[in-house]
Symmetry: C2
């Protein structure tokens, strides 16, 4: 069981990649801080101050400008997130389709639907805020989903 | 079975209301056009040019600056969408929590999870784009979800 979300961003894949792996850039559209740059093998702590959330992730794979894979938890025991950056052809300007796949949901969990919907909500919000940051310099869309 | 999504927008409820009922404003962040202003009893046609989509809705209820209810289909035979605007207290600036509830999903539909996720994706994208339009004047976030 997984969640897939895809968004077109009118920027080169190299810039989208940097916006994800660099915690200073990330804080403009997603978590408020990250303990380090995403690199394979590292355990990273992300904090979302406004929601009082602290999340550890284990980075499993980084392919520059193409792919980032991480798993939830300091030891990577949680869901696996794969972020792929696809360069778009047939356009005059560099543009990227960013594809996020989160897998590892338990189909027998009685809260499966609620978990999937919450997860989908988070990724669509992150991707739309990323697009607004990268294309229009908006740094204040984050932290406004109300639970 | 329903989908609920809530977003904080740092604008007065009256302005959020207008951005929804006025099709010229709506085209900045959601469908590309609407056949008329949302008024109770009216059937409206919304078009999303980039996705080749045409949607009829029947407006069931409009309470100025507070609530809009419509159902899918020219005769309102589809899902029911309720949009509520809650004024926020305890802030120096006027702000609004917009709450969207879509109901009418069939719990026995074998595609239930996919339908709910697709629906959630659409509403989070719409609300984030609405926020970006209202707070930052961004009119070009729409039409970039990739299916």
């Amino acid at each position: 069981m997984n969640n897939v979300t895809k968004m077109r961003i009118a920027k080169p894949a190299s810039e989208v990649f940097e916006a994800i792996v660099d915690p200073a850039k990330m804080s403009n559209y997603w978590f408020s801080s990250g303990s380090a740059r995403l690199e394979a093998g590292e355990t990273i702590t992300w904090r979302y101050e406004e929601y009082g959330a602290v999340v550890d992730i284990k980075v499993l794979e980084v392919e520059e400008n193409k792919k980032i894979v991480f798993a939830g938890g300091a030891n990577g025991e949680g869901n696996v997130v794969t972020i792929q950056l696809h360069k778009e052809l047939d356009t005059n300007h560099a543009s990227t389709i960013i594809e996020v796949t989160e897998s590892g949901f338990d189909e027998n969990d009685e809260n499966l639907i609620a978990l999937l919907l919450d997860n989908k909500e988070g990724w669509v919000y992150m991707l739309t805020s990323l697009k607004a940051y990268m294309e229009f310099g908006v740094t204040n869309l984050r932290a406004s989903l109300v639970k």
